[in-house]
């Protein structure tokens, strides 16, 4: 078997390190006695090394959020129809269906006010700004002192930036957002996987104190509530329930002002 003539395929398999060990010995011997072929094979091996080295850094780059597989699974129709999803959907329907239906109907017919309006503004802000990879925020986290001063002046209220580091989210920064109910402060956060969260807060004319309600529209979900005249909405591209602990933390910190 080892007496087979050396073929072009042998030489490439040699370069690609996929030759059987016995065959490799034979090819080695052949190359020793054929310096011109050895030179060519050596050049091919160098190409391989250089290409691998030149392209390796691409595989080490952090993945952009759009290549986050968990999120892609969550957003796919197949992911959404998994049994767990149906269970959650069924539970939500049972718990809010009969009672919440009429309220929701009213709020969808007229332009929403109160908590429903704030929830919608937060989702809209998320859709517009969290998908922006160039300039998602106007002021970065490094300028958070100025950011707080700016939004507090415009909202005529002391605003504090929620600290979500214990939940694994870092402040990216924030901006002022226009709503039908006046200016609102938006803060954006991200985690190590590139998932982004948005907290939107503004003074409330109706629903000045309201318990936390979950919301979900298209892919954006979260919680909205009001405390002492200020409304808060925390939203992200995930199932609402997974944000409940973070929403509780935001509420706790806001109450401590």
């Amino acid at each position: 078997m080892n007496n087979r003539p050396i073929t072009e395929e042998d030489l490439h398999a040699y370069v690609d390190c996929v030759l059987e060990p016995e065959r490799r010995v034979v090819v080695d011997a052949y190359l020793n006695s054929h310096p011109d072929v050895a030179k060519r094979v050596g050049a091919f091996a160098d190409q391989r090394d250089v290409l691998r080295a030149a392209l390796a850094p691409i595989a080490d780059e952090p993945l952009p959020p759009k290549l986050n597989l968990s999120r892609i699974i969550q957003q796919s129709p197949r992911g959404r129809t998994s049994p767990a999803w149906w269970a959650i959907a069924a539970m939500l329907l049972v718990s809010i269906g009969g009672f919440g239906g009429w309220t929701a109907r009213g709020s969808m017919q007229a332009s929403p006010s109160g908590l429903a309006a704030l929830a919608q503004e937060a989702a809209n802000s998320y859709n517009v700004y969290a998908s922006d990879h160039v300039r998602p925020v106007e002021m970065r986290a490094t300028d958070s002192a100025q950011l707080v001063q700016w939004v507090s002046n415009r909202l005529h209220r002391p605003v504090r930036v929620p600290d979500l580091t214990t939940s694994g989210y870092r402040l990216m920064g924030g901006r002022l957002v226009a709503t039908a109910h006046g200016p609102a402060a938006m803060f954006m956060y991200d985690d190590d996987h590139g998932s982004r969260l948005v907290v939107l807060t503004r003074p409330m004319s109706t629903d000045q104190n309201a318990p936390m309600i979950p919301q979900s529209r298209d892919d954006v979900a979260g919680f909205t509530w009001a405390d002492g005249g200020m409304g808060y909405s925390l939203v992200g591209q995930t199932v609402a329930e997974s944000l409940r602990p973070i929403a509780n933390e935001v509420r706790r910190q806001a109450r401590a002002i």
Binding site: E8, E9, H12, A13, V15, D16, V18, R40, A43, F44, Q47, R48, V50, L51, R52, A53, A54, L55, A56, P57, I58, A59, D60, E61, L63, P64, K66, L67, L69, S70, I72, I73, S76, P77, R78, G79, S82
Partner: protein, 175 residues
Amino acid sequence: MDDMLLQVEPLIPALRRYARALVRNAAAADDLVQDCLERAVSRWHQRRDNDPRSWLFTILHNLAISQFRQSTARGKHIAIDETNENEFGRSAEQEQQLMYQDVLNKLAKLPDDQRAVLLLVAVEDLSYADAAKVLDIPIGTVMSRLSRARERLQQEIEGTAVDASRNVVKLRSIK
């Protein structure tokens, strides 16, 4: 979907690398990988192999090829990224960096089918049989394309390539 997450997630960096080396535009390459992952998620139960690697490369490669065709048909032009430090890493020393860029520029002059074989085999470590599956060609064709790709790249490196300028023009029009 958990098994999918476990099996597919570790392969994403290699898919990005292949896509970027093939289309040479980081944003366009990531778009292709995103399309590939979305398809993989929706067709996960249709795959035949236990090893999803060549299956994923097949999806990605077909998307890249149909994009090449579409942009040729529409006369569309995907800008080739300026090769700078950001594209191909920052840590290595500059001289080595320049040498890497030079080789990648020369790789780009190869016809797409030769470049694809060389990348799948030499960089992504696919077996010749898997590369044949991904490219939907006989294994003998894989070997002959690989051979031509290596000869051609060597000619580019040694500066002995003929009709090099014609091929640059051709590649630019493809993209």
